[in-house]
Symmetry: D2
Subunit: 479 residues, 4 copies
């Protein structure tokens, strides 16, 4: 089966009998027709349709090495720097469709699954591991163009360093039994973004797991018995793309995943009860370089989007002459160019790994994801500082369709735009940074790849500082 269309995606997800709870009710009927999911599913469908856009098909797909079908580029195992570049361009093409606002567009998990499969030989010889399952499942997903949600972390019960969960009071999901059919899982995991609107869910222990009963990885269909997605409040406040240009279309939803004695068939298990395998698979595989490459590629597109919005605001109310305004926009420019340069550097320094995969260099990418969580929130500040009171005098689409439109047309016009266009722009900037959707974006970028404190420590600890200290030692010795 070649790469899917939007229609395929919608139908497949609607056919699944996935258990989704939202605001106290179990979701009934087609997901694609619900207020909470309709918008984002339509956007996701649009992404899949781009695979068949005649101007893009060459970029968005490649020929399957096993079936010869044209399949999605985000599944591609890159063998050359050109492959890597193609992957990145494809990722950015999808990102453009949402202004980079969808952190979990399909390429994210496709990329990760590809990386895990490519590095699966790592597991060979370890206990309780099924590297062949990883490869077989990757190929299956690739050819079916499956979509995924995932969970990487445990509930936030107690973040103290010394906390160890009571084994009798299982909160974090764990193995409670092993049968001939598979693993039996009970407990909860955070945070399944897009939970409920994908074909499957991938569950993967992070490197920090210390308890064998929590050290597992697998993928199962979203409608597996016992699996529940408990959504947070939806940030879709209406379907008007005038009022909510972003949240009406790109709100991906986050959910707590509950495993109520869920059976994971053996052929879907990647490894289990092996803390070492969990650590190795996250730290030594190409998981990190490829995941970071996808993330940074998307963040570049998001920064471009922000820059466009910021400069549009400046033009709309005619404030470009002010030095402090120029400085604020320049901050976004510096951010954009820095991210772009780091991304390019990671591709320039890419190296073939032992399994024939062209890995981007991680150092520039780690720097980028240390930098972006500090910079992105600053963008929101800049938007507020520039738009000021403009953000609290915004009427709605209905207002423009009512008899007071004449007043609005006169009193809300700006230098460069008529009232309706100006309000539309300001609503976009507001939805990007000040709506519940916008602040969730900020929060997500702050923590996208984990706790910033931990990321910084990791950068420090893994960076090769010796060549620089040695240079200083030589300098001192010569003095």
């Amino acid at each position: 089966m070649p790469a899917i269309t939007g229609k395929n995606y919608m139908e497949r997800v609607d056919q699944l009998d996935t258990t989704v709870w939202i605001d106290g009710s179990k979701l009934k009927g087609k997901k694609s027709e619900s207020l909470a999911f309709g918008g984002v599913m339509k956007t996701q469908a649009h992404l899949y349709d781009l695979q068949y856009d005649k101007n893009l098909v060459e970029l968005m797909t490649y020929t399957s090495p096993t079936t010869g079908n044209q399949i999605g580029t985000s599944f591609m195992q890159p063998r050359t720097k050109d492959d890597l570049l193609k992957r990145r361009k494809m990722i950015q093409e999808w990102a453009k469709a949402s202004g980079g606002m969808m952190g979990r567009s399909p390429d994210y998990m496709n990329t990760i699954l590809m990386a895990l499969a490519s590095s699966s030989p790592l597991l060979k010889g370890m206990e309780h591991v099924f590297p062949d399952n990883v490869v077989r499942f990757y190929e299956y997903a690739r050819e079916k163009d499956l979509s995924f949600t995932h969970t990487f972390i445990n509930p936030q019960v107690n973040r103290s360093q010394l906390y160890i969960e009571d084994p009798e009071e299982a909160i974090s999901a764990r193995i409670v039994d092993k049968t001939k059919d598979g693993l039996l899982i009970k407990g909860a995991r955070l945070l399944a973004t897009q939970g409920g609107i994908t074909d499957e869910i991938i569950v993967l222990a992070t490197g920090g797991v210390t308890n064998n009963s929590q050290a597992f990885a697998f993928s199962i269909p979203s409608d597996t018995t016992g699996l529940k997605f408990i959504c947070r409040e939806s940030f879709v406040h209406g379907q008007s793309s005038f009022n909510y240009p972003l949240s009406s279309r790109f709100e991906e939803m986050d959910s707590v995943v509950v495993f109520d004695h869920v059976l994971v068939p053996w052929d879907r298990v990647f490894y289990y009860e092996n803390v070492d395998a969990a650590r190795t698979f996250v730290n030594d595989s190409s998981f990190q370089p490829f995941a970071l490459h996808q993330v940074v590629a998307r963040q570049v597109v998001k920064t471009e989007f922000v820059l466009g919005v910021v400069q549009q605001l400046v033009d709309a109310i005619h404030i470009s002459e002010y030095q402090h305004v120029q400085e604020k926009v320049a901050e976004v420019i510096v951010g954009l160019e820095t991210m772009k340069a780091l991304l390019v550097q990671s591709e320039l320094d890419a190296e073939m790994d032992q399994w024939g995969c062209m890995r981007p260099s991680t150092v520039p990418l780690k720097v980028a994801i240390t930098y972006f969580p500090k910079m992105y929130p600053r963008f929101g500040e800049i938007v507020q500082q520039l738009g000021a009171s403009g953000f609290v005098s915004l009427p709605t689409e209905n207002d423009f369709n009512s008899e007071i439109r004449t007043d609005l047309d006169r009193y809300l016009q700006s230098k460069a735009k008529n009232a309706e266009e100006r309000v539309k722009l300001f609503r976009l900037a507001w939805d990007m940074t000040m709506s519940a959707f916008g602040t969730r974006q900020t929060l997500y970028e702050r923590f996208f790849f984990g706790d910033p404190v931990r990321l910084t420590s990791d950068l420090y600890c893994t960076y090769n500082k010796e060549k620089y200290t040695k240079h200083i030692q030589d300098f001192l010795d010569k003095s």
Copy 2:
């Protein structure tokens, strides 16, 4: 008539036939029963009721010098430092009722009206001024315990320095005619917070006005013919105080005010067509010291509220041992103690003005309002940094009333709180900083007393730097 009760307030506002547009419809029926205004009016009524709380009545009211009635303390002209202290404590008592989230609780405009009346002799001898109207109206408002909205600024059409509005294309409200009955006003003004739910609206030119036709000040009833309040989108997303502990109760609404040939009777005019009077009345009256004193008093209470929320988060998920967490909470503590010390300093250094009013010292207050707009947004960051993914896994009140409550109870509990309490706390922190209500709070504090760039310039320009440069000159001369 003595100070009013909440019931008086509700009835009076509901009886007015004020024109309020919201989301394309003219508001019908009682304001107090609408979704957009019901919550905040109930809170406002609660504030008025506190005037009769037996533990507070002595603080909240004082004896009218004209009628002998017990009337609201925020109308009091302070003659002594003790009076000033009483005013502040009263302001903070009301602020506590909303965690400082209501920037336009009645004391704000009461204070300003008092200051204008106290300084009205300033206008004497100028052209087109009615100082007696100011005093008479102040006394009338004080004895009736009237509530006010107000507008200080013009629409944000073009913020370029060189922009001068086309007089034929009136956008900013201006005098279009003068008749024996009064002024005729046409055009728009920003931003009437609480527009539509107060007895009256006060319109006052700021010091920067350069056009005589825009240089006026007056007060008129909210339901004056031709007056329209066009609201932004309401940020009340529901009435559940579990889901929306702040926005369901303290969302004050902002509106554009349109004057469609509105008649302002002469006895309600404070001055007109006099740019100098406008400048003098804002810059040389006690407007600034008293308005700043009210603002800073409220901001102190708001910072206390933030500190409480932040520390509750820390306790809930047990992260107080981390040095970077301690540092973040300490930032809030430093902010609070700094604001408190500056407020106290302004009271210590208060001086009697030429009309017998005890004015707080402006320097410490100006420092405070230069400082707070930088600090308050940082609090929102800190909340996000501490709560992290906790903010995107928040179920609703309905969820807790459904069959999945058992799952929530187990999986969303935290170290110090059960699931429901924890979610309640996190929803509070979210509503304070991440909901549309919360970000509007941040925006408001950024710009509460005007553009921060301008405030900083003002502080620089008005500060007495000479004593310090002189000291250096002496030092240099002695060298």
Copy 3:
């Protein structure tokens, strides 16, 4: 003996046979005539002389409760808020004489000795303590107007958390023997500022001491046998007050103190071999409130000095019209007013302790010393940003006395000053922030009261957060 004069001070210090090493040589001859110490001793003498200035004598001295002599106010045990205010004004008077650049002017240690004596009853009943010695020595010092250096910390060998010094390899000073004559001390201590130019040295364990052999406190004369002061490089680069307006006069010097089997007579021992006493004496005495009060009072004066210099720079090259310049000066203004308000708050909230001493409130002072180390370095940045290339085109006094003066007069003039005055001002700003003296000032303020990370943790841990969390709990409970 009443308060001393400058002459008394100079003679007394010159007569001591103190061992001072500097740049590889033992200092010979009168300290007051050496390049390294001559300037600062002259300044210190000037401070003592101010005690006899007829306009200041009432402020600078008070009547001894034991001898009836007029003695130095910094020794005064305050019984009332007025006493506290007098202390502060006296401290600031001395601070003005050095622009706040002398962190160890005599009032610093006088204040601390006073605080220790006032709280000495704390020690009663503990083992190895001599509270009477403390009181007796305080009175002796007070009546003699003795000057002190001191050391509070151990050498910086290894700052790892787990490091415990090898007891066989004594580096930090410790008790190596106890005889009938006193304690025998061996090892080193940091950092004796003014080491070598004071009558005595006070040694005091900080609260963090964990080893009994390092838990002691005492005072001994600077020329005690076996005591050596090893100075860092002197930052006096010349005696010209034109070239080095600050470093030629206020460079206090820092030194490592080596105890080479130094005998401390029993009557000079305050306590020994008692970790609890050490902790109690630092944490529960009035040491902290009074030391902080002195420090913050001085820092206020220093900030005033900085503000004067900054504004003089602005005037000299005529840049006050630039908005970013205004913002930078406003930062200093905000800093100054904040520090002043916190200092005043600590006095307003002062309370009598159990031994009849009027203690300033510590919370505002702790906030001040958390804030100042972040702000002071920023001042140096601002000076550089404003003065820019002006700082690297500065000729010397000799240049102005040479034939190229004509060129200098023409080419180095500025808007507001002739060349010589302008260079003098720029040299002052440079010496304040960019000379070796200036950067040592910055470093000192960063660490004045200890590691900023530790100070912040301490503020967090000791602050009463409960009243704020309780308020939030009430708020939540009512929802």
Copy 4:
């Protein structure tokens, strides 16, 4: 003549009878034997000697297109990206020799002269221009391996926007006469770094010049009659490389240049009395891309040096386990990787200009020089925060050669280094950031390519924002 050796350089400079004033005296004798210049000239000589290092000769030189001699690579006009890379590596090789501390190593002006010559056709057809002189002089300098100082700016008399210098009171250097022999120049210019120790001085009006009499460019020998270099105070405080590892070797000196009716022969004039030529030559030539490329290449090496020093400090006192320490070092790492990526990006995006020169792309370089002036001062802070009191307990080389060495050895040792090594390292860190030399470094990097406020405005104004605003317009139009 091929590339010179260090000996050639020293002899040539010593032979010139250049007028240099320092601390009130005219410098007599050989510059290379003076305290102020001896160290830096020795370092500069070492740079020239590297041109003959057998491992480096291929990198450091190339074959002259006119004479076939091996000449210095920094003079090379790059025709390919490989040439550009060779230039950069050569620049970084020289930078390594001074840890990037010499901002005016010969490659800086060599690069600029090359760029001007390469773009000289720009001038063709304009009035008062001599493009052939530029080319001829470039070739002459290249083949002789001449060294240069330069001045780009006018004295800092009055930085107000409205200031226009009185033409009668010439302060800034200007043309006072034109004769058959050349231009006659009178007035002063700032800041000739290395003024007095180079063969020639290049004088170039910046783009901002508005007065024809100041619009000129030329090069003349340093000992031209009437030319005076007035030095600031020297920051060489001693020749010991133990005490002053950087300032004893890399202190380049800055000077005011006075033109006392200096004659500039016509064949040395590039253009004169042509404000447009001045603007064009700076803005449209390859001056900016090549100068920025050299600057950023050096700043990368300097950041590597800083990182080495910082990590050495961390190791020396064993503080790498602290999270806040890791964060601080990570800031340097982020800085380094960012600068490197931007430099590489400028090379990747290089394009051939119309005259056949391979120009680096300016956008990433402009971003880099907007970023570095904010980051570099932060490095100094980090060094202070990590080293703390270690910087004020530093003995000197003489101390280690005296009898107190035993004490030093014991008491100043650290975890990883013995006392002497530790002091040596700390002195390096101190000289890098806290000595008068170190703070001048910080100041220089703050302003290296001009006022940061102006640089930021320039980045904003010249950046292509349209493609981003257009994307947003499309997005809005589709909504």
